[in-house]
Symmetry: C2
Subunit: 220 residues, 2 copies
């Protein structure tokens, strides 16, 4: 729209199932919220992201029951999440995919904000790059995203399946072993506030010197 100077995303999802435009739109919007709208490379939005869902009905298969629709929606979600993760993994200078899952939240919008907030935090992204299991930066960002103190106080948090915080209390853990596990291609952060049934997952990538190189030297 403004100046074609940035990464843009164009996503195409094709299916040969029969779908009405209304239903296709509804499905895609819901799936978007759990996939493409939950990734971030650096918090800067690109100028013309778009996702299309095209259904030609070639198989003649109709989604007649709620079960059919749910199965289709789940399949669509899996594909969209796979594509979305690929974008985050492929971010400028990225060396690792970060997946942040937040559960036990009173409402979904807070869950999303919390999960996305962590994937956007330059401090946390740099810590991941340096294999630093810095859960303090995660908690600080959660606070900054508006997670109420009552929830923060009962946070359980694990990094690469190692529990580092249980209901707000730090758990002793083998720092060297977690540092080593942070070298893996995918870094998984799991957070639970034990305060509700809403949840969200967001994806991002680490912040490397290469990100700076690419974006500082980009010039026509």
């Amino acid at each position: 729209m403004i100046h074609p100077n940035m990464a843009t995303m164009l996503g195409y999802l094709l299916t040969d199932v029969e779908l009405t435009p209304t239903l296709a739109k509804e499905c895609l919007s819901a799936v978007n919220e759990k996939s493409f709208n939950m990734i971030s490379v650096d918090g800067d939005t690109s100028t013309n992201d778009a996702v299309f869902l095209l259904a030609n009905g070639a198989t003649g298969v109709k989604l007649e029951t709620d079960g059919d629709l749910e199965a289709f929606r789940q399949a669509l979600t899996s594909v969209a999440q796979l594509l979305a993760q690929s974008i985050a993994r492929d971010g400028e200078g990225s060396t690792r995919l970060i997946e942040v899952s937040v559960a036990g939240v009173p409402d979904e919008s807070l869950a999303k904000r919390a999960a996305r907030g962590i994937t956007v935090s330059p401090l946390f992204k740099a810590a991941v790059h340096g294999c630093d299991p810095n859960w303090g930066r995660i908690l600080a960002r959660l606070g900054a995203e508006g997670v109420p103190e009552g929830l923060l106080a009962r946070t359980s948090l694990s990094i690469q399946d190692t529990e580092v915080l249980r209901e707000g209390i730090p758990v002793a853990f083998d720092r060297d072993s977690v540092r080593k596990s942070l070298k893996r291609e995918t870094v998984r952060i799991v957070i639970n506030f034990a305060s509700g049934s809403a949840q969200a997952t967001a994806w991002g990538c680490d912040l490397s010197r290469r990100y700076v190189d690419i974006n500082a030297e980009y010039s026509t």
Copy 2:
């Protein structure tokens, strides 16, 4: 509050003028909004920022007229802005102070959001680091911050006093000369939407490889 693992800011402002607690609070809140609350190093908030204004009344000078109060408020603003700028200039890995002024906006909250948004944008911060007069990234961020299209279409923008956009139309400029000017210690971005009387100024710093080094290697 959570984990003393981050930069924190403690600001002390001392005056020997006579001030009631109510007036001091009012002054400091207003000044904060134009100084400390308008800086960012990386968008990550620290855990226990605080600013104090202490008035001992030693001179016996009272702020009796509106003019007195205004003069005091202006002096306090200058001092607070100077301190705030120093913090941004001193950010991790910073090599330059960035000052973004946004004027001609219908309301102040939008002006603040726009100005702060640019200082927080990793893409723009990296461009400044690379001396790239990348106004496309500025406009993209303004759009992402919710500046309406009608305003974007009439944006005037200058980088280091060189006009690069006039009422939405790109102006030819000497790219090499602006690149050179971006090496100066302070980078000034001035934006005008010609659509109101509200304005705001925010400060930040460039994003360097050193930022990544410092924050990736920070570990106990």
